[in-house]
């Protein structure tokens, strides 16, 4: 415990690490403010730069990008009505109307403060919840892990982008990608086509860079002719006492919602912010203001999406199951640096884990300062023309992918998955489930195989394990939820139309 607390606060005594967090926060805010370049793409692009670093510094860079880019999506959401990251989509609903009526500074001030409170709350929740969850996870055996990964995959049905079925197909496609290479137990070659560079499977990083960065490049090419309205602002204002009183309840509620949603596998900041926003509206006394410039709307969405960042790190670190698309990249970063996610991380690498938590806390404080004093400058980055920005992203993506293993195969993977990702998006499939499926794929198969060995091939005995059964029931509920809610929506609409007739 003492070691954990010392490691947690040691970050604040390390000037090099603080400097790194400051620089990365600036980079993260710029990345988040640029429409199309979100936390996931940013983390994937910066991962190769961290290869020679100390693991704590490397993961600090990735988590700082995650926290700061998630906040910075609000800058463009408020000023140009285009969320810099998907997680800021709900911020546009009230942020842009506020900016249109001349209160851009106030909206950004509320966003910065709510994001910081949400982020700090979630870091403390992470520091407390993760070791507790790790104690439970010590008891997990292959059947429990198998059921848990199925639960993670089932949650893909309810992430907001794409439809439930499309997300599940994407997730299973990702799981299939994880089967490429030699089978772990039998060494039988699968889908390698004689290419021995694929013997150990697809490298995650080029696939991620392709799915997120290269597909986004192609997606941005569909928008080269679009004009964006930008609202200028004078300065970012701290919320007034009246504002604080008005948003206090909303922020507190969204912190809880965001952290809880973040802890659920696969559900990330985007879902959290949507639920945070709708709950802010549901509990507000000024419902009619929502959509026209309610500061509770901005606070609810922003507190929820930033508190989801810490929440999403819980399953990521404790179970190796990504809490969101960005944490899927962070898992790859952890593995590259020899930190295998899992409960043993909390006994064998306590100092590193808690230093990472401390760095996340420092990043949240850092973007409060940068957000308040630098948002006006950061807003200028949205003026960088696409025809300059995206070719640079292209170069970073290619060289970054190559540098990991110094293999041209990784460059080709970026191109292939860039086109695959773009086509998926073209037909309404989100790429995040593919990335999450790829991370979970090996866990699903290995734990299923081991469970079958334990139960002599009688797979149904998995259901006799209480924890596994709970996870499987949760998985079934996760699969059913989008369909049940669609059904209830349809019934509600039918009832409303009957009443109105």
């Amino acid at each position: 415990m003492e070691q954990a607390i010392t490691a947690f606060f040691s970050v604040f005594a390390d000037p090099y690490l603080l400097g790194l967090i400051c620089i990365t926060t600036i980079a993260g805010v710029i990345i988040g403010a640029l429409p199309g370049l979100g936390a996931t793409t940013g983390a994937a692009l910066l991962l190769p730069f961290t290869l020679t670093m100390d693991p704590v510094y490397a993961i600090t860079i990735l988590t700082t990008i995650y926290c700061s880019a998630t906040f910075a999506g609000a800058i463009t959401a408020i000023l140009i009505n285009t969320p810099g990251t998907p997680a800021a989509a709900a911020t546009t609903f009230d942020g842009f109307p506020l900016a249109q009526r001349g209160e851009a500074g106030r909206a950004l001030g509320v966003a910065v403060v709510a994001s910081t409170i949400g982020g700090i709350f979630s870091v403390f929740a992470l520091a407390i919840a993760a070791p507790l969850m790790a104690q439970v996870a010590y008891e997990f055996r292959p059947p429990e892990y198998f059921a848990l990964t199925l639960f993670g995959l089932s949650m893909l049905a309810s992430i907001s982008e794409g439809g439930a079925i499309k997300n599940l197909i994407g997730g299973l496609f990702g799981v299939w990608l994880a089967t490429i290479g030699a089978d772990q137990v039998t060494a039988v070659e699968r889908f390698m086509f004689g290419n021995y560079e694929l013997y150990e499977g697809l490298n995650f990083i080029p696939v991620m860079i392709g799915l997120f960065a290269m597909s986004e490049l192609l997606y941005q090419s569909t928008r080269v002719n679009q004009i964006v309205e930008q609202i200028a602002m004078k300065a970012v204002k701290l919320p007034s006492w009246a504002d604080y009183k008005r948003i206090a309840g909303t922020v507190a509620r969204s912190c809880g919602i965001g952290t809880f949603i973040g802890i659920l596998p696969a559900e990330g900041a985007t879902v959290a912010s949507m639920i945070g926003y709708s709950e802010a509206k549901r509990w507000s006394k000024n419902k009619e203001e929502f959509g026209k410039g309610a500061i509770e709307g901005v606070a609810g969405a922003e507190a929820a999406n930033n508190s989801a960042t810490g929440g999403a790190m819980v399953p990521t670190l404790v179970l190796g199951i990504p809490g969101s698309a960005t944490t899927a990249v962070i898992i790859v970063g952890l593995m590259v640096h020899g930190l295998r996610p899992g409960p043993y991380l909390f006994t064998q690498q306590v100092d590193k884990v808690y230093a990472i938590f401390g760095a996340m806390l420092a990043a949240n404080i850092m973007f409060l300062v940068l957000g308040l004093y630098g948002a006006k400058i950061f807003a200028r980055v949205t003026l960088v023309p696409r025809q300059i920005l995206w070719p640079i992203v292209f170069a970073l993506a290619i060289v970054g992918a190559y540098s990991l293993n110094q293999a041209m195969l990784d460059v080709w993977l970026v191109l292939i998955f860039g086109v695959v990702g773009f086509m998926c998006r073209r037909f309404g499939f989100s790429v995040a489930p593919i990335a999450i499926g790829l991370i979970l794929g090996e866990m699903v198969e290995t734990n299923l195989q081991n469970s079958l060995k334990i139960f002599d091939g009688q797979w149904w005995l998995i259901l006799t394990q209480p924890l596994a059964a709970v996870f499987l029931i949760l998985a079934a509920l996760g699969l059913a939820r989008p369909f049940l809610s669609a059904l209830s929506d349809r019934r509600r609409r039918a009832t409303t139309s009957t009443l109105s007739e």
Partner: protein, 180 residues
């Protein structure tokens, strides 16, 4: 408080946007493109699994043969795909305009990059592709495109080569640095 515009040139095309359909639209053949591709993909994967070697029963024990897990995945994907087709019939997706020509040419640039990187030089491929993308996406100042497409790869090369000790594949340009 002022309004200004960022970015680009004209508001001509609204490519990529969705346009509203009639209240009860009928599905079009293109709406089934994704499900058809998914079925073909699943069939190809299922066929490929038949080419896998059988692992020794001593190693496999009560677990599955290596081909079974991908086959199982494809079976589930096919079931979900049937549901997707039913959804498409009942509620066709909103109609989308075709992507603008810049998108298709950007893909051609990626193909060009592949050829140059594979047969000439990785960095030559990056420079040519960056320049082509920049021009294609509307940059009218040739010197800006040239500067960005030459300076960026040069900086990236030296950062990765000198700081991160990454050795790039030999080619027309990299040989200038590494020596022939």
């Amino acid at each position: 408080m002022t309004n200004n515009t960022t970015g680009d040139k004209s508001s001509g095309s609204t490519s990529g946007d969705v346009t509203q359909d009639a209240p009860f639209p009928k599905p079009r053949p293109m709406d089934f493109a994704a499900p058809v591709v998914i079925f073909v993909f699943a069939a190809v994967v299922a066929y490929l699994t038949t080419t896998f070697e059988d692992a020794s029963p001593l190693i496999v024990g009560h677990a599955m043969q290596p081909r079974n897990f991908p086959l199982f995945l494809m079976a589930v994907i096919c079931v979900l795909n049937v549901v997707l087709i039913i959804q498409t019939v009942l509620r066709p997706p909103k109609r989308r305009d075709l992507e603008p020509w810049q998108t298709w040419l950007s893909m051609v640039v990626l193909g060009l990059f592949f050829i140059l990187a594979a047969y000439a030089d990785l960095f030559l491929g990056i420079i040519v592709s960056m320049f082509a993308l920049s021009i294609l996406w509307g940059e009218r100042r040739l010197w800006v495109s040239t500067l960005v497409s030459v300076a960026t790869p040069a900086i990236i090369f030296f950062v990765f080569d000198q700081v991160l000790k990454v050795r790039f594949p030999r080619g027309i340009l990299t040989n200038l640095w590494y020596g022939a």
